[in-house]
């Protein structure tokens, strides 16, 4: 493992402690990097669009990028509803090979769809979304395989269908990038 190579989880807006803890516990197993939680002062108001009543994902991502030090990757975790101008919403956003990734749990909650809350399902979905966005930050693009965490998801149903782990090809690519061998 390279020095200072760690995933820094940053709560964006009100924090869900339990969820952040869960992600900090599971993500190292997927990427082989240590995972720490850090707090930061972000200007959420600047990214708020009052017409859409949503937060501009790209603007938030730009703020998160500033928090990266050395080789670390930043994962912003929020419950705010995110958008980019052309889409009604996004589950998250990251730059391929970039230093930061952002994910939202807003539309991963069953309550958003008028269904009873399901904590277990929320954690599972959040983990998948974190793995997907961090995958981008680690340099992976979208994958067409249905058996890969890098498959694109347009809806929460597609998130549910998507596995948390990567396909063999993406896993191999990730090993080359992060130097971590999951099988070892």
């Amino acid at each position: 493992m390279r020095s200072n190579a760690e995933i820094r989880i940053v709560p964006v807006g009100p924090a869900d402690r339990d969820l952040l803890e869960y992600l900090a516990l599971t993500l190292p197993g997927r990427f082989g990097w240590g995972c720490v939680e850090v707090t930061a002062n972000l200007s959420l108001e600047e990214t708020y669009n009052s017409t859409r009543r949503q937060y501009h994902s790209t603007a938030l991502l730009a703020q998160l990028r500033e928090l990266a030090i050395d080789d670390s990757k930043i994962l912003g975790v929020t419950d705010l509803d995110l958008f980019i101008p052309i889409f009604t919403f996004v589950f998250g956003e990251a730059q391929v090979g970039g230093r930061a990734a952002l994910m939202s749990t807003h539309r991963l909650r069953q309550e958003f769809y008028g269904l009873p809350a399901d904590r277990r399902l929320l954690l599972a979905r959040a983990e998948k979304e974190a793995v997907h966005e961090l995958g981008h930050a680690f340099g992976l693009g979208h994958c067409r395989s249905f058996d890969c965490g890098m498959r694109f998801s347009n809806s929460v149903e597609q998130v549910d269908l998507r596995p948390c782990q990567f396909c063999q090809l993406c896993e191999g690519e990730l090993q080359g990038i992060s130097g971590f061998n999951l099988a070892a």
Binding site: I84, P85, I86, F87, F89, R144, F152, N154, S155, Q158
Partner: protein, 464 residues
Amino acid sequence: MEPGSARILIVDDEAVVRDSLGDWFRDEGHEVDTAESAKVALEKLVHQNWDIFLLDIRMPGIDGLELQRKLKEAEPDATVIIMTAYASVESAVEAMKQGAYDYIIKPFNPDDLEHTMQKAMEHKQLVAENKQLRTKIDELNLAHEIVGTSAATRRLLEQVAMVSASDTTALIRGESGTGKELIARAIHANSDRRYLPIVVVNCGALSEGVLESELFGHEKGAFTGAQYRRKGKFEMADGGTLFLDEIGDIGLKTQVDLLRVLEEKKIFRVGGNVEIPVNFRLIAATNKNLETMNAEGKFREDLYYRINVFSITIPPLRERCEDIPLLADHFLKKFAHSMNRPVMKISGEAENILANYEWPGNVRELQNAIERAVLVCKGRTIERDDLPLNINQGSNDAEGRSLADIEKQHIKRTLEETGWNIYRAARLLEIDRVTLYNRLKKYGFKRETPVRAPARAKANEHSG
């Protein structure tokens, strides 16, 4: 390009839309280009083909609607998806009226966008396939098999052209083997219904109960053995043509039912109580004298008048002898090609024999004679000896000229030629193996040497 991917041109004056959508589609494996204005898009159209166009409806200069019009002029099959804001949904609806495939509202719901794109790609593929198949149908129709230059054939072709142009019920009369089904197919192929099916029913081959179920279909449990709901031929011919061959062979009850369908254009499946509308053009054929049958009370007068709107009588081959050389040459080329034989022509002597024969089995008999000759011919030219015995020896003697005699001789000769290979003999005779077996029993034919199990190498001749 990978399967399932498309070439997409995004036209929008907003850079954020072009860039974000472009990245999104590229991520999905599509080939993408963008244009910031209609003018740039039209310039790009000259150099490359696109599967799907995504056009912003509001653009400075030429707007999306106008661009769509220009695109459709250049590429009538262009699949256009209009991008619009809520405020201009009415314009998007207008664009759809003018031929846009669909519209998507900004900002896009990612799930909806994916569905719309998938649907558009499927649509594009179906349109292309449909176009290809229509071209194929037209090509096949051009190559139809009505061959001949005699006055009778020319008259026949005129009648086919005349009746094809309308939706009139046609009645085709002619002796067995004159090509009634061929004429029916030619009428269908030249009609406006040609891209929809022609459904053929041989009424003579089916018992009354089976025929009723075949024509009308049945509901599950309508009778013993009706395990599934099944569509009948009336429904299967929807939009196309129904060809009822041997219509003179249908029973009086089915005649009443058929008349009702022709009058009302509605059916009930056997065992069903739901009225189903049907839309088909009827072509009927018979080798029987329906007028005599009518006088004898075997064929209903009202049905006779209903189907005898436009009658085409195909003359027997003996009445259009000048067509024989052309037909023989046509079949020679057809079978030489399908059997991959180097047979090129028919000798003068053989041609003479063909021209002087009576052809009681009409064109079908001529076709079979040439098929056989191509099969047994050793060189590049069909000689007298390659022709079937009855034709070769001439059957103009009064004795042995009955149809049964000829059938008997023909079957016997075919069996000898094929070494009693029932499958090949039945195929040459164009009858099924059970019919051939029944004929063998009828004429008391027996193979002199015992039948041995087919060799392994020949096993592929069995249809399974």
